[in-house]
């Protein structure tokens, strides 16, 4: 057990060192959400409505937080796929280290990274007039939900990388998949204002659950409608990520073991 933790931590440090030595990627992942805040908050935002009223930028920010967690998928999957393609995974597998360390180390490092991204975004949010209105406790709970979602997304990313293996292909897949997932949700627009079918899909989108839950915890506008998922956002914001982890973590582990086939 101690070796599992020790090796996991060694691999976490390795991945964090990557961020320090090659910060370009981090800049890319930082600039994207900030761009969304600026473009949607200021350009489209002037024409946007929030169901139930309120400031659009304040409505938007929790959505952008969640989207940032989602786009972490690209970093995770590309990182794992790069390891696989470079043969360095073969070296790890030929060493007497804990088998789990590659994945736990990735997961932990991505979580630390998400914390870094979150703090930057919170500051950006405060600068454009967003704020939390329900006290620090609930705000921290909201950050907790975001990180839970990030863990779930990490495991999806690890599985995706083990499935596809080629880092270029991973890059090509992730963004076209992630963008509609974030658009057909309550990130930018309240589902009540969408055509019925798309609105329903948006409401059941796992991302929407987290967005709705943290809007509530931050006390931001846009508490959506009286549909079942909207009324049980808090429950779903826990349930969806747990379900994703319970599905994709075993899948990823199995896929990893199959490397020795």
């Amino acid at each position: 057990m101690t070796t599992v933790i020790a090796d996991g931590w060694t691999m976490t440090r390795r991945n964090m060192t990557h961020v320090v030595r090659a910060p370009e990627e981090l800049i890319l992942y930082f600039s994207l959400p900030i761009m969304f805040v600026l473009v949607f908050g200021y350009v489209f935002g002037s024409g946007m409505q929030v169901a139930g009223g309120g400031s659009y930028r304040e409505f938007l920010l929790p959505g952008v937080f969640v989207m940032t967690m989602l786009y972490g998928l690209g970093a995770t999957a590309t990182g794992v796929a790069l390891d696989l393609s470079r043969g360095v995974v073969d070296r790890f597998r030929s060493m007497p280290m804990a088998r789990s360390a590659l994945m736990t180390g990735r997961s932990a490092a991505d979580l630390l990274r998400a914390l870094l991204e979150m703090s930057t975004l919170l500051v950006c949010g405060l600068l454009v007039g967003w704020q939390w209105r329900q006290g620090v406790g609930k705000a921290l709970l909201a950050v907790g939900l975001l990180l839970l979602l990030r863990i779930a997304i990490t495991w999806v990313g690890i599985y995706l990388a083990l499935l596809v293996r080629n880092p270029d292909t991973v890059g090509v897949i992730v963004f076209p998949a992630a963008f509609p997932l974030s658009a057909i949700s309550n990130v930018f627009v309240s589902p009540e204002l969408m055509p019925p079918v798309i609105g329903t899909i948006s409401e059941w989108n796992p991302l929407s659950a987290t967005v709705a839950a943290i809007r509530e915890l931050f006390g931001n506008p846009g508490l959506g409608g009286d549909s079942w998922p909207a009324e049980h956002a808090m429950l779903l914001a826990v349930l969806w990520p747990v379900l994703l982890i319970a599905t994709f973590a075993p899948l990823a582990v199995r896929r990893y073991q199959r490397l020795s086939r």
Partner: protein, 329 residues
């Protein structure tokens, strides 16, 4: 059995209908270099991946450093080093950070990992580049870093899978010198290569493998002898006299000569080298056949290989199997 550092008995591994390995046998005594020689797709890499615990196999048995590869993989992993065809290092981390990372994962203390990294960087001539990302290293430097990483725990058995493929001659010589040094210190080495010269230079014994099984085994000299040993080559001045010359030398050497009329050359295997040469010269002279060139030629490993497998080592065999294995690697 325990006297061998590497033992493989009847190893078999198939990918669908393709047999990557088919009753593969191998024994390597401690402190020796054993070469696995074979064309692309012959099963060299598959064998190494099985023996280094990276790949499961379907049939047979294997032990490395005295431990069963299947049942005690962690004991095996603690005693081996692996340098593959693709430098398996972290390209973003510096050379030093790479060695420290692997040292930590080999259960060295932080201080010990740092000390060992410094030691290896110096020994492999990488101390000046120690702070640079491994991704910026030249091919030769990266291979040396990779080799250094496999030596952190002073492995009992070192696996080198085509360690010099893609290297320039100077880097190749460096790697060879490093390997010789390790063997002098008592390390056992299993080396795969498609370069005959490399096997000839480094290996004490060679297994020639083709289509997943060992087709011949022996010292480099024994393998060369399998082709029929040395040959006498004669180039005649007049092409019309070539077949007459061939008729004359055949009874002397006790074997039929091979003819190459385009260059007016015949080539015949010979056992008693000097006496054979003298007799051939005399016979040709007596018959009045004008000779442009005559000489003894030692057999090369290249010919041995051609003789044993029916094709040259750098020609791929079964491209499907090769592609499949590349995919796995």
């Amino acid at each position: 059995m325990t006297t061998f550092e590497v033992v493989a008995e009847g190893l078999g591994k198939r990918y669908g209908p393709t047999r990557a390995l088919d009753t593969f046998d191998l024994t390597v005594p401690p402190g020796t270099v054993h070469g696995l020689l074979g064309p692309n797709g012959a099963g060299k890499t598959t064998a190494v991946r099985i023996l280094t615990t990276l790949l499961r196999f379907d049939t047979g048995r294997a032990t490395v450093a005295g431990y069963d590869v299947l049942r005690r993989p962690d004991e095996v992993r603690a005693r081996i080093g692996l340098t593959g065809q693709y430098a398996a290092v972290d390209e973003i981390l510096s050379g030093r950070q790479n060695l420290e990372l692997f040292g930590r994962l080999f259960r060295l203390s932080r201080r010990e990992a740092r000390r060992r990294a410094g030691e290896l960087l110096e020994r492999f001539g990488l101390d000046e580049a120690a702070g640079r990302s491994a991704g910026e290293y030249s091919g030769g430097m990266r291979r040396r870093l990779d080799l250094a990483a496999s030596l952190i725990r002073r492995p009992r058995v070192l696996f080198l899978d085509e360690p010099t493929t893609g290297l320039d001659p100077r880097s190749r010589n460096q790697v060879w010198d490093l390997v010789r040094g390790l063997v002098a210190d008592g390390t056992t080495v299993l080396l795969t290569t498609q370069y005959l010269e490399e096997a000839d230079q480094l290996a004490d014994r060679i297994s020639v493998i083709d289509a997943g099984r060992v087709v011949a085994e022996g010292s480099p000299d024994q393998l060369k002898a399998m082709t029929g040993g040395d040959r006498i080559e004669v180039v005649v001045r007049d092409a019309a006299e070539l077949s007459q010359a061939a008729r004359l030398v055949a009874p002397i050497c006790g074997a039929d000569a091979e003819l190459d009329p385009e260059v007016r050359r015949l080539s015949v295997p010979v056992v008693d080298r000097v006496a054979g040469l003298v007799d051939v010269v005399r016979a040709l002279d007596d018959a009045g056949i004008a000779v442009e060139d005559i000489g003894l030629r030692r057999a090369t490993l290249d010919e041995a290989f051609l003789h044993l497998t029916g094709h040259r080592p750098d020609e791929g065999r079964e491209p499907v199997a090769a592609g499949r294995k590349a995919d796995v690697a």
